[in-house]
């Protein structure tokens, strides 16, 4: 069953006009904000496909920026998000590209501050549902709809076991897990979808496990 709740049908409550081009875009922006862990000071936002053609009329641009400011889909401030972000000193640039993409509603975001940067690709697949398909060069399939943790680690034996042991110790159930790496022995990424949000101390414990480089999360 693709749809499991009556609130997938009667809902979400959202700023119009489009569940895919507005609500979905806000959710991708917010996932980026969550993964970066703080408000960025700059954002390069590149639209592809239908997003590139219609982003102004659908408010896709303000919605993505609203998400970066941690607004949910029903936050009326989304309409003024670009102005609010600019007033806060966040530098925002939009680009349209006509490169062929797998999904018509695709956005690439490069966000960061003076010391860190992050690049991700998100797609909006309909009815407000989204997926993050690329993070810092890694391919992944992450829906923004569950609490998730993303762990950058060195590709060494024991790294995955160390993480799952910490989760098991705190009785946290894993819903789905995906592992990918750039090359044997190089940087790798674990994506873990959970049934619940994790406490900061567990995040801390994960960060200090063997071979772990960085932990970020998407909260529900």
């Amino acid at each position: 069953m693709k749809y499991k709740s009556v609130f997938d049908i009667i809902g979400p409550v959202m700023v119009g006009p489009s569940s895919s081009h507005t609500a979905g875009a806000a959710r991708i922006g917010r996932a980026a904000r969550n993964l970066f862990g703080k408000e960025p000071t700059y954002a390069e936002i590149i639209f592809y496909g239908s997003f590139a053609k219609t982003y102004k009329g659908h408010g896709t641009d303000v919605a993505v920026v609203g998400g970066l400011l941690d607004y949910d889909t029903a936050n009326e401030k989304i309409r003024h998000a670009i102005k609010i972000a600019t007033d806060k000193g966040i530098k925002i640039n939009f680009h349209e590209e006509d490169t062929a993409v797998d999904h018509p509603n695709t956005v690439r975001m490069k966000i960061g501050n003076a010391s860190e940067s992050m690049e991700l690709v998100g797609i909006s697949i309909g009815g407000g549902k989204v997926e993050i398909t690329e993070l810092n060069g890694f391919e992944l399939h992450l829906s923004g709809n569950h609490p998730s943790i993303l762990i950058m680690h060195n590709d060494r034996f024991g790294a995955i076991a160390a993480v799952t042991q910490v989760l098991a110790k705190h009785e946290i159930n894993i819903g789905r897990m995906e592992v990918s790496r750039k090359d044997v022995g190089k940087e790798a990424l674990m994506v873990i979808e959970l049934d619940q949000n994790i406490e900061p101390f567990i995040e801390q414990e994960l960060s200090s496990s063997n071979h772990i480089l960085r932990v970020s999360k998407i909260v529900d």
Binding site: V6, V13, M14, G16, S20, T22, H58
Partner: protein, 294 residues
């Protein structure tokens, strides 16, 4: 758990409960949530819909300027007492249009089942409310009943224009509304299913062809058609008319028709009204391009 309309109807008959109650019980079972929580969340959605209609009737306009103000025109027209199709139907149309005008103006709406089709369910609900004077609980039940039918469509076919054309989006929304109108008016669960089938049959084949790719033209007026269709079909079912093709088979037909629809007629703005000379000219104007005369 119900997967088809036939299963839904048999649950209501075996347990002697309403469709809304069957939906509430399923939601409690699957998600392990309390009745109060679920009803509370639905009441919030109802309040969002009420507010959207209220705002739309004051006049809302989209940024592109393609849509806005029609809900208000209709309300003024109703007041003249000259309406031909009847005040209740026109009131539903006006309130559906109001919701979609607010949506196009980036106001807050509740997707039912999508943003583009958000007008049909509240349009029908708030018009019928004036006649039937339901309690708040009955209005919340209206949304659960709509949701139960939408749930079946979403899992057996599709509910977005990009996937199955406007028949999947406004077609589903209108049919959901019509089933809920029947229940609120005191019809049986089977009559709700008949109304659903009749409405969806009459929306079958409808393409998704938005001018400039925006949720404006013809989406706002399609919601007007959806809301009126919902009320007329509900009356037909309440009069005792049945659908020769059973509800689940109509949903199956909608799915197959959607699968056969070319991508140009599924929200890409490459066919239908979007591809008319005026549709293209409006799109160019909105994109800020110069339109050269040939």
């Amino acid at each position: 758990m119900f997967r088809t309309v036939a299963e839904l109807i048999s649950i209501t008959e075996n347990e002697n409960i309403t469709i809304a109650e069957a939906m509430i019980r399923q939601e409690m079972d699957i998600h392990d949530r309390s009745r109060e929580e679920i009803i509370g969340q639905m009441e919030q959605n109802l309040s969002v819909m009420e507010k959207a209609v209220e705002d739309g009737l004051k006049g809302a306009h989209s940024q592109s300027g393609l849509v806005g103000g029609d809900a208000l025109l209709l309300q003024e027209y109703i007041k003249t007492g000259n309406s031909l199709s009847g005040d209740l139907v026109l009131d539903a149309v006006s309130k559906a249009v109001a919701t979609n005008e607010v949506n196009a103006a980036m106001g807050i709406i509740c997707a039912t089942p999508t943003a583009g089709s958000a007008g049909c369910v509240p349009g029908a609900l708030f018009a019928v409310k004036e006649r039937l004077n339901p309690t708040r609980e009955e209005m919340i039940d209206f949304l659960f009943t709509s949701g139960a039918f939408g749930f079946v469509v979403a899992n057996n076919a599709f509910i977005s224009g990009a996937a199955g054309g406007c028949q999947a989006e406004v077609g589903s929304a209108a049919a959901m509304a019509s089933a809920a109108v029947v229940e609120m008016a005191g019809g049986t669960p089977q009559q709700s299913a008949e109304a659903f089938a009749i409405t969806l049959k009459n929306m079958l084949g409808l393409v998704c062809d938005p001018v400039a790719g925006l949720v404006e033209v013809p989406c706002v007026k399609r919601n007007a058609a959806g809301a009126s269709n919902a009320i007329v079909s509900a009356d037909m079912a309440l009069a005792g008319i049945t659908s020769k093709i059973p509800c689940d088979e109509v949903i199956g037909a909608m799915y197959r028709v959607g699968k056969q629809m070319p991508s140009s007629l599924r929200e890409t703005a490459e066919g239908g009204l979007a591809a008319t000379p005026t549709g293209r000219a409006l799109a160019a104007q909105i994109a800020g391009n110069n339109v050269t005369k040939e």
